[in-house]
Amino acid sequence: MSVSYTLKESFAGFRRNRSASLITVFTVSISLLLLGVFVIITMNFATFVDQIRSRVDLEVFLSSEMSESQQEGMTRILSNIPGVEEVSFISKEDAAKIFKQDFGESFDDILDDNPLPQSYRLSIQEGYNNADSVQIIAARVEKLQMVESVHYRKQLLQLIDRRARAFGYAAGFIGMILALSAIILVANTIRLTIYAKRHIIRTMKLVGATSMLIRLPFLIEGAFHGIIGGVIASLLIDIVFTFFIQPLSEDLLVNIGVSFGFYIGLIIAGGVLGFIGSVISIGRFLKEALVQHV
């Protein structure tokens, strides 16, 4: 079996059956467009959740005032706790400034002394910013000497965890249904185009073609259709994002984006989809019984 002949036949299929090829490409494009938009929404939701998580800090209030060397020691201890990304010390004066910024009033007007304690603000590393991990970090910090209390938005993190988990399950389920639908839709479209060629396939068998020689051009043609469908879906998504979604994302101050790798993935997915669709469809026509009806 000649490789050049197989390749030539694969691409000749496009020329010989233009309308069927266009229908297949269109079907792949639409399937990938739906799948692609869903993946983008899912990915951006995950990014959005991560952005919220990254804003959750731990506030560590100290029971008594620390000397400079004690502050350095405490900073070192806190930095060495697994999951802690950054440690910043907030002096009584800094705390007073923050209070004034937040509430618009100063202690000097009411009290003689600044009652706010020294504190630390800990930012959390990615991967640790979920309710369970933050709780473990908070528990370790609370055990340290001179630590009065640890505060963080525990309920918000728990809520994010619950919602993200539910969204993950739903996204996985819907994604699977969409992927399955895409395979079935593309396979059926390809099956129809191959069904139209069933007499040709039978003749090929009768003149001595092996199943592989018949099958291979169909598979390559299917993958080729899928790749073109993937390119079209990528272009459509890119146009929609460039002209409609990105301006909106700037207005909403939310980072919604599509990476170049995503488009490459979509094109590869198109090729795989076309290939799998062809494998499913051509198999049926080649598996016909050896003993035919008389």
Binding site: A12, N17, H199, L206, V207, G208, L213, L290, H293, V294
Partner: protein, 218 residues
């Protein structure tokens, strides 16, 4: 070269062949006759193993129906040239590509394919039609393309199922003249027909299918 041993072929509880025996030697020109629906096409299909005997065995060349595997069947078919009554051309490709296909399946090289196809098209008188699509050809021309495709692999046996059934007398004469030439070069020709006038005009062994068996007509 071709042997039928106690062949039984049953379809829908009806016997097409029953304990049928037959031997055909190399280079013979054989007409297979019989009433419509008696099993002439089934006989040919047993030869290219498009159907297998219910019982008994068919041997053709080095292949045996009782031992042949699905993967060996394409290789058997490459040693046989088959001309179908309905031509069975590949409608999506031109005359040259139709004939060349039978060579492509063997993995032949491009130059060999081109020279053999041109030679065969010249032999069947279709050199000027190599780029024509099957839809643009007459019945006789389609049959000649089918013959060229059947002969392009230099088969030892040529099977023809009612090759003149859809043709006018002039086209039929042309087709039979081609068969004669091929036979003289040593290829066995087995032709199913119900056109008994041919038998009077041309010499050859005549086998009649009757009562689910083969009978030599003298």
């Amino acid at each position: 070269m071709i042997e039928f041993h106690n062949v039984r072929l049953t379809f829908a509880s009806q016997d097409i062949f029953d304990h049928a025996n037959l031997v055909i030697s190399e280079g013979e020109f054989v007409y297979v006759i019989g009433e419509t629906g008696i099993g002439k096409s089934s006989f040919l299909r047993l030869l290219y193993m498009d159907t297998l005997p219910t019982f008994g065995r068919v041997r053709i060349g080095g292949y045996d129906s009782s031992t042949i595997t699905r993967h060996q069947i394409p290789f058997l078919r490459r040693t046989i040239g088959i001309v179908f009554q309905d031509y069975r051309l590949l409608e999506d490709r031109n005359v040259f590509e139709n004939v060349a296909f039978a060579l492509h399946v063997t993995g032949a090289r491009h130059q060999i394919i081109a020279s053999k196809v041109h030679r065969l098209l010249a032999e069947v008188g279709l050199s000027s039609k190599e780029f024509a699509m099957p839809d643009d050809l007459s019945g006789g021309e389609k049959q000649r393309v089918a013959i060229a495709r059947a002969l392009v692999n230099d088969p030892v046996i040529l099977l023809a199922d009612e090759p003149t059934g859809n043709l006018d007398p002039a086209a039929s004469r042309d087709i039979l003249a081609i068969f004669d030439r091929i036979n003289k070069r040593g290829t066995a020709v087995i032709m199913a027909t119900h056109d008994y006038s041919l038998l009077a005009q041309r010499p050859g062994r005549v086998i009649k299918i009757q009562n689910c068996n083969f009978y030599d007509v003298v």
